[in-house]
Amino acid sequence: MTRNGILVDYQYCTGCYSCEVACQAEHELPLEQWGVKVMQNGPWPIKDENGEPTDRYVYDFIPAFTKICDLCADRLEKGKKPSCVFHCQAKCMKFGPVDELVGDLADKPQQYLWVPPCA
C-alpha cells in the first residue's frame, strides 16, 4: 500500500494558522485539540563569534502534525486534498505519496516530510 504524507517547505511558513483552523473546522474538533499545530521558533538574534547579538534573526514557524491527523481521509476519498494543504496561504505544503515527496525533499533545503501513523 502506498503511504501518503505531507511535505512542508517551512522556509515559507509565515505563521498564519490557517492549517490549524482548517483542521479544526474540517473535523469539528473541540477546543484545545489539534491535528496540526503551528509551533513558533523565534525570533531570536543570531550571535556573532564574540557572543554579541547581530541583526540577523531566526524566525521560523513549523506546522507540527499530531497523531490525530488522518490526512483528511474523508476528503481524500472524494479526491480532495487535506484541508490544511488546500487552504495554506503560503502554499508551502504538498500532499502526496511518500516516495514522490522524498524526491521533492531532495530538491531544496528547509523542508520536512510528515508521515502520520494512519498512513
Partner: protein, 790 residues
Amino acid sequence: MGEQVLESKNRDDIGTSKEENQFNFGAGERPEMQDWKHPGEWQYMEDGMLVTRTSVWSAPGCHEGCGVLVYSDPETGRFIKVEGDPDDPYNRGALCPRCLAFKQVEFHPDRILHPMKRIGERGENKWQRITWDEALETCYKEFRRISMTYGGESIHCLRGTARDNQWQVGRLANTFNSPNEYGFLSGTACYLPRLSLMIMTYGGMLIADFSQFSALRYNDPEWQCPECTIVWGCNPTISNPDFFMGHWVTDAMKLGCKLISVEPRVTWLAAHADIHLMLRPGTDTALALGMAKVIIDEDLYDHDFVERWCYGFDEFAARAQELSLDEVEKMTWVPKDKIIAAARLFANSHPANIVWGLAVDMQSQGTPCAAAIAALWTITGNLDIPGGMCYTAAPMGVDQPSAGAWGYYDLLSEEQQKKRVGWHEYPMYRYGLTQAMPDMCLEEMEQGKVKGVWIQTSNGIACMSCETERWYKAMKKPEFIAACDIFMTPTIQSSADIVMPVQTWAEKHSVRAHYYFLSAITGGCATEGEAKSDCEINRELAQYFDHDEEFKKAIGRPLDQNAWPWQTEDEVYDEIVKPSGFTFHELMENGPVYQKYIYKKYEKGLMRPDGKPGFNTPTGRVELYSTLFQNFGYDPLPYIEEPGIGPVSTPDLYEKYPLIMITGARTTSFFHSEHRQIPYLRQLTPDPWVQINPKTAAEHNINEGDWVWIENHRGRCRQRARVTYEVGEHEIAAQHGWWFPEQDGAEPNLYGFRQSNINQLLANKPGATGFGADLKCTLCKIYRCSEEDL
C-alpha cells in the same frame, strides 16, 4: 499633456467635482474583458450539498474579497461549511482562519436575529423584540424629524473600515440629506492619507503589482515578477491589508524577488528580508527622503521618466539632497550604510515595487510621508509597468469604492455637499473618499450639534476611537441612534435606541468590486433569524423618504428624484454593475470577471477625462511638487517633522514614559474588533497581548503572560506580556480593538471595553492636512498589574 489653470482659482473652488476625485481609472466605461472564464459552475450539487460560488466581504469584515465555495443543506438551506475556491485567481483556494472558522460566526448563539428596541436607559442592556416595520418606521420618523428640524448635516452615518457597505452608508446619509459619513478614526489614519495624496499628485490610486490584475496571475506573459519589493510599515502576511493578499509577497520571494523590510519590529517578513531597516516609529519620511537622496546623488534614477512625466523633480531633488545621511541615521536609528544599501538595491532592481501599510498613515505627517515614499517608485521608473506600481481599476468599469460618493454628487445640492464636516477646513478631504473629518465630527458631537446617528457595522468606541472616553460620552448626546450589526457591541449597547440584524456574507447578495475584478457576492445559505443585508435595510428605509413629498420639498430634492429607485436589492446591484454590461444575475454566473489590464496608461491617453496623454493632475504630470498643496497652503514637497509625542519632540514626557508605543499590529485571528466571541479564533489569541523585548521585560520584572499596565499621560489599560525579540528594547507593541463579549454587557462595564483599550492612551490629533495621526508612534511606560488589579 492637458493642464488646468489653478492660480486663478479660489481654494474652495478646487476639488469640487467628481472628475477631479478620480479613485480608479476607467469608471463608468465597459473595458475589454480579459479572455478568461471561471471554469466552474456558479452553483452545483456535491455529495448531497448545494455549493454556491461567492466572494467574502462583510459581515464580518474582511479586506480581501476572496473567492469561496459555500456548502449548504439543499433542504433547509442552512450553512454547512466554506472552502476556498481553487479556481479563483485572487486567493487560489487559500483562506485565512477567519473564513475557516466562519461556521462559528454563522451559528453563534449571540447573533442578533431580530430587530430590537431599547426599553431601559441607554446602556442598561434591556431590549425588546420588534418587527422590521416598527424598526424602519421609527428610524424614518426620527431621521425625518431631525433632518427637517436641524438640517440633514446633523445626522452622522458611521461605518467601520467598510467594504461593500461603504457606498450603502454614504448613500443612506445622502438620502437623509446628510453629507456626513465616516468612521471614528482620528485623521482618517487608515489609507486615506496615502489615497488622497495619490489622487491629488498621481491622478489615481497605485498598488504593487503582483499579477493580481490578471486572472492568469503568475502565468500571464505580460507580467514580470518584481526584482525587489519594499514592504514598508506593513505586515501583509498577517494583515492581508486592503485588497492585497500578503502571501503574494512570499510567492514572489519564491520566484526570486528580493525583499527590503522597513519595519520597527522583527516580523517574520523582516527576519526573512535581504535588508531590514529597523526604524524608529514615525520617522518614515526621513528614511524615504534619505533613500531618495542616495538614488539622486548616485544618479540611479530614471532620467527619461522624470523628464517626460514628472513635475517638480528639481525641487524634490533639492529637498532630498539637502539632508545629510548622518542626520537621517540619527533621526531614524537606521545605520547609514543600510540606508544606502537599500536605496541601491531598490533603484537597481527593475521592476520594483512597494507594499506599504498603515504605519504611513498612522503618524501625524502621514501625507508628506506618503509623498516621500511614492517618489521612490516614481523616480526609479516603476510607475504603471508590469511588476511595478500600477493604477487600480474600476473593475469592468464599476466604480464602487468612490461610489462612497455615489450619492454625494448626485443627491446633495452643492450647498449641502459643502456642509460635509471638514469640507472647507481640510480641502484634501475632497479627494479620495468623500467622507467627513472625524476629529471635527467629534467636536460637533460634543457640542450637541449631532442629533441623529446611523451606525452600520461599526464598533467605534471599542476600536477606532482615540481618547475613547470622549467619543463614548459624545455618543450619549444625539437624540436618536440606530444601529445594524451581526452582534451586540459596546458601541451599540451604550448608545443605540434601535438595533437591526445584518446578514453575514454567506447569506447575503451584494457586489465585490475593487481594484482588479468584479464579482457577485451570492447568498449561498439560508438567513438566520430575520437578518437582512446592509443594502436591503438601507433600501427599505430609503423608500419611506422617497415617498415623502413633504420631506423632498423641505430639503429641496426634486419630487421626481428618488434616492433608491429600485424595487429589490438585486435591482440596486443591477444598477451598480451596469457599466460592466452584466446584470447582477449574469455576474453571479460569470464572476469573477477581469478586464484586460493596460499598463502605461499615461502614454495612451487613458488616465484623463479629456483623453490626452499624461496624468489626471493639474499639470498633467506626476507632481513631485504638488500644485494643489501649494494652492491649499501646504508645503508642496515632502517634509520631515517629528511625531507629536516622542523622544525628540517631548523630552519631558519621554523621561516619564520611556518606551515608544506601537499599536494596531494584527493577528490572523481577528478583524479589528470583530471575532472575539468565535471560539476557534479566540483560542489562537485568548487575551490582548503587548509585545515586550526580553531585556525591557527583565528591567521591569515582567514575565511572559503577566498582565501589565500600559500607561501614559492620557490613560492606561492592561494587556498580557508577550516577551519577545519581535520588538526592540525601546518599543512595545500593543494590540487594538479588544472588548470581551463574554463579560457583562450593561453599563458601566459594557463588555469590559475599557480594560484593554489601547486607544485610551492616544489622542485625536490629526496632521496639518487633516489626514494622519500619531497612532503607531506615541510614548508610554509599563508595569506589572498587582493582584488586586485583576
